[in-house]
């Protein structure tokens, strides 16, 4: 029987998800024994035309990491969708929009302006030469992929079968997912191949939480050293554990938590959470200034809440494109009435 064919592809990502495949270490040899890697531009020499030549559904499974930021990525994932029986959104950017998705607080124009224009102090560009999708040079025409205004998650562009969360996904989850797919006993379409509990549920610091947490002052992790056994939230440091899926390590405790850093939320929401930011507003505002709340003036409550710097950026750090509101409304982007 021919081996199942596997493809890996990257879109708007940092390369960490590719690294996460390499991090399978010797396990990658087991994978290679079981499957044929037919496309992996980051690591092996394949051309887009190799994929175009394949028959529909010829690839058993395509692992696609990164968000969709430009035309080239969109075309490639559409092509891979045609050629693959299963598509897996691999990593936070692909699943939720990820860090590149934070660009949805801006649009193409403002991003170009801060990269090539007057808002970039280290760039001297008096002629205001900006990237063009087509430009004529003596040798002919050069093209660049069109840069979209809005970053999208993979499932906002193509149909996705499964999700593997994480920035980047831990090797043990990747191996498990490959095992499940090769076994042929496929879970329900749309399943996130990771545990369903929240990180707090699994966190060894959870027991240190007082029965009622009340935050008097918001502290940033760069300003304090938190006792390695104490819950970050109880210490006034924002931790996304209450609204984030567990599973970033096999043992349960969060990867960042074990390095004495609060959870940033890269595993995305557990199944019952619809909008990470909404849930975090709820969780955090409930405990900030809880003690003595009946005597707190409106001004003091506002001052305390305002200690949370950049709330949307913090709460939607990995999930802005898949949040309920998806992006910032900007005058040159919006059109018409609702």
């Amino acid at each position: 029987m021919p081996k199942p064919k596997v493809a890996f592809y990257w879109c708007a990502s940092c390369g960490g998800c590719e690294e996460a495949i390499v991090d399978l270490n010797e396990d990658i040899l087991k994978v290679v024994e079981l499957v044929d890697i037919v496309f992996w531009p980051c690591a092996m020499d394949f051309k887009y035309s190799d994929v175009r030549k394949m028959k529909d559904n010829e690839i058993t499974v395509a692992f696609i990491n990164g968000a969709i930021r430009n035309d080239e990525q969109e075309k490639m994932v559409r092509l891979l969708r045609e050629k693959a029986q299963l598509v897996i959104a691999f990593g936070s950017c692909s699943q939720l929009g990820g860090i590149p998705g934070l660009a949805n607080f801006w649009d193409r124009e403002t991003i170009f302006e801060s990269s090539y224009g007057k808002n970039c102090p280290s760039v001297d560009n008096p002629k205001r030469i900006f990237p063009q999708t087509k430009s004529k040079v003596p040798e002919g025409e050069l093209t660049l992929p069109a840069f979209h205004n809005t970053v999208r998650s993979l499932d906002q562009v193509i149909d996705v079968d499964y999700y593997i969360p994480g920035c980047a996904p831990p090797p043990y989850l990747t191996m498990k997912a490959i095992g499940v797919i090769l076994s042929g006993e496929l879970p329900e379409k749309g399943t996130v191949l990771a545990p369903e509990k929240t990180l707090c549920d699994e966190c060894s610091r959870n027991d240190s939480k007082p029965e009622k947490i009340s935050i008097k002052e918001i502290k940033r992790i760069s300003e304090v050293i938190v006792d390695s056994k104490k819950c970050f939230l109880a210490e006034g440091v924002i931790c996304m554990g209450p609204v984030t899926r567990s599973g970033c390590t096999e043992e349960g405790d969060g990867k960042c938590i074990s390095a004495n850093m609060p959870c940033r939320g890269c595993f995305g929401p557990p199944p019952e959470v619809k909008d990470v930011g909404g849930k975090m507003v709820s969780a955090l505002a409930s405990i900030v200034g809880l003690e003595g709340e009946e005597n707190m003036s409106d001004e003091d409550a506002e001052k305390l809440i305002n200690q949370i710097v950049d709330p949307a950026g913090y709460f939607y750090r990995f999930s802005l494109p898949t949040s309920l509101l998806r992006r910032k409304r900007m005058s040159n982007l919006v059109k018409g009435e609702k």
Partner: protein, 134 residues
Amino acid sequence: MNTKAIIFCCNWSVYPGLLLSEDTTVEPDPEYKIIVNMCSGRLQPDLILEALKDSAWGVMIAACPPEECEHDGNYKAKRRVLLLKRVLEQFGIEPQRLKLEWIDKGESVKFKKAISDFIDELKELGPIKKLEIN
């Protein structure tokens, strides 16, 4: 759709009074819809976001005034609204579209006035602009 404002109000305080004061022979005002919840402190922000995403021009939460909520949920609601307003602003949505009003039991007249004032404010702002994803 004519609905401009979604009004969340509590099942145990202001809503029963409002029901009693309503003239059932008059068609309800299509410009707002009331959603009854169990306490302002139980209202989840995702519901507010959902309303703003879908069609509402604004959302008002009618909560019991300080010291009047049996569960102290109103203080929580206050802080959530403060934080959510800042989040909305980052999404380019005017924070005035979210409003918390202290309304006590039996203050139906005040409640109705607050709703109509809010709708006037929303008309000044106009609808939330529709997103063009490209």
